[in-house]
Symmetry: C2
Subunit: 464 residues, 2 copies
Amino acid sequence: MIDVAVIEALKTLVEPGKVLTDAASLEAYGKDWTRQYTPAPSAIVFPKTTEQVQAIVLWANEHRVALVPSGGRTGLSGAAVAMNGEVVVSFDYMNQILELNVTDRTVRCQPGVVTKQLQNFAEENGLYYPVDFASSGSSQIGGNIGTNAGGIKVIRYGMTRNWVSGLKVVTGKGDILELNKDLIKNATGYDLRQLFIGAEGTLGFVVEATMRLDRAPKNLTCMVLGTPDFDAIMPVLHAFHGKLDLTAFEFFSDKGLARIMARGDVPEPFATKTPFYALLEFEASNDEIANEALATFEHCVEQGWVIDGVMSQSQQQLQNLWKLREYLSETISHWTPYKNDISVTVSKVPAFLNEIDAIVSEHYPDFEVVWYGHIGDGNLHLNILKPEDLPKEEFFAKCATVNKWVFEIVEKYNGSISAEHGVGLVKRDYLEYSRSPVEIDYMKAVKAVFDPNGIMNPGKIFTV
Amino acid sequence: MIDVAVIEALKTLVEPGKVLTDAASLEAYGKDWTRQYTPAPSAIVFPKTTEQVQAIVLWANEHRVALVPSGGRTGLSGAAVAMNGEVVVSFDYMNQILELNVTDRTVRCQPGVVTKQLQNFAEENGLYYPVDFASSGSSQIGGNIGTNAGGIKVIRYGMTRNWVSGLKVVTGKGDILELNKDLIKNATGYDLRQLFIGAEGTLGFVVEATMRLDRAPKNLTCMVLGTPDFDAIMPVLHAFHGKLDLTAFEFFSDKGLARIMARGDVPEPFATKTPFYALLEFEASNDEIANEALATFEHCVEQGWVIDGVMSQSQQQLQNLWKLREYLSETISHWTPYKNDISVTVSKVPAFLNEIDAIVSEHYPDFEVVWYGHIGDGNLHLNILKPEDLPKEEFFAKCATVNKWVFEIVEKYNGSISAEHGVGLVKRDYLEYSRSPVEIDYMKAVKAVFDPNGIMNPGKIFTV
């Protein structure tokens, strides 16, 4: 544990009452949504300014204290977990939207701004922040940048990386860097901004971010299509992708749909039962586009790729169709699922999914596997539900075996062991399935440049 | 100069005849389009495989030989110049398109593939490579990546960075890294791919790149609009940007137009003379969009922002209107222009341009300034034409003074001293106008990670 005098020194760096050491705070701020680690930080500190963050980092270097950045704590990889006496740096009080520039379509934010807050702010100003995912109501922009958050609109809008036009950071050495200055074109050497995006706070902390905004989408329209098997989903994607500018292309299985229907609060999309479902979205900004969508639907039915389908005719219907996909994660959480977030290139998805499916059902025929994900980006969420009669410990022990099989298949298909959740603690020991040992050595050397004393979120992504 | 035995050793690493040391080759391969440096390389080597590139880099480390990467040599910053006895590594024989994946919309290329070759290949396959600029007929993909090339479609499609889904590189230490493996979503630590984009070959050499492709654009349509002054261009941009998904928004001045008209091979857009012109482009994929464009044009005329204008009605007219902008660089090259490529955020453009204009005309009232550029990205090309009676040396000496003023104004407006041409040799000594000394120190430390012996394109971007 950290010496009392050292914590007292920390208290002088921030406003009164902005260092907490009570048990409830240590418990609450020491964990994220992974829930599998026992939180044990030494203190939580709440800076309000860039200068306070810088002072905290300099203090941590002086006393060799490990720092863990903390946003909305909705992460699924343990990157915001503090279980080794670290000091948690929470950005809860750096939560202001600082400046909107309508001409540049940018908004300058503090890192503690909640994703939904930014989305709403953009909407109120006739613009659009397109990165969206299940935890947008709690996650913070700083955390989104740290994990390069993706979500449901990546096929059209890309990852968080695409929307960061400038970053102010405090590096692990305590330097303040203003990266890219919000420029669209800037060819003046290495784009260090890119290094901080997805670095999970291991190089430094984001203290300000200028995010790009887009025009508001026009008449978003959704289709849910039932397919006879998984393989049919790919030609459906190909057919629609060629005709429309899709804003989303998701999928889920009949098992997923059954769990949603069992809730009782979401209307059934259509009566026909099919093994898989594609959910796609586009801007029906004029009649020609809507007609093109219907013609493509008919083509897919003629080809036997689609058995039944529905297209939203109102905002209410649009929202109801999206619930089929968006409620999945929360709905199946009651079955204590083993979850995995993996990706391959889009064209490899069918073979990849079938191979994982086969190996799980061969070894554990009684496990229920619920697949869903962002098929348009090659990003699959594998969920294995715990059989009711199987004790939790035994289930997770069996899933640890699954982990290894899954990652071996990921490696075989040149895929990613973490598509959008990050590495953190959960996937740290599996990193070599996606990145070569030489590449990991370069990553460690880059970390040493920005954080020579290894105080920034140590033990996350890799151990040094 | 390099010892003869060392060059003999180099010859054993590649195919026979693939090391050149004759005067004409040294002259040709030692320079780029900057033309202001005297080429003086020791040899030119032409690898054909990744393994040969790796062998060359290991050889260079062993003998401490500086390497300069060489693509189409169309650069405007001197990044591909060899004037200190370096060995030039030309990618002219690594020019194959290796694999197209229609589902993933990606194409795997060697670095020596010419930009136009990639554009044509995409088009033949019903797809589109959107990065385009004046030198696309000669520039190579490896060079595009090294400078993060931009060009005329950035407002819609972004820079080259957006289109690189995977890179294979040989680092300055001679390691082969496969970066990102063409994935759309991959949250497994630092995205080292991003570091190599825009690094001007100072960290390592790209030996293979997987580039993303887009769907082909539909019925591209162009408008040229005459405005009463420069300030009117901004509300015109704002009006059209709000209504249409623009694929380009360029501008040029009456002086630029006059030079184009003097060629005699480009039709006049319309009879009315105006001080400035905006050129914008969009997909008129249906009548509603074309009508929206015309309505916005009428609104701009009513507001007094636009005096006259024209909209293309055919592919021929589209091409003719684009010539007004695309022929500019080549046309004014006959007046030995001092050129500068600078950027600010879009909203600052009018004040920024006026300030530079004022300082140049105050000190050099007899200099003709031709402005043009990518206004939708905040990227301006400043061109000062040499008065006919002024000796070249005297003109460039005066322009050196202009340089400093321009960069001081760039710094004041938080802009970039190089928007899309890179730093190379030309802007190396001005880098601090855009990047802080601390940031430059971090860049140097990052370089040392990938190139500890400083053999990769030394002296470019910064001196170590």
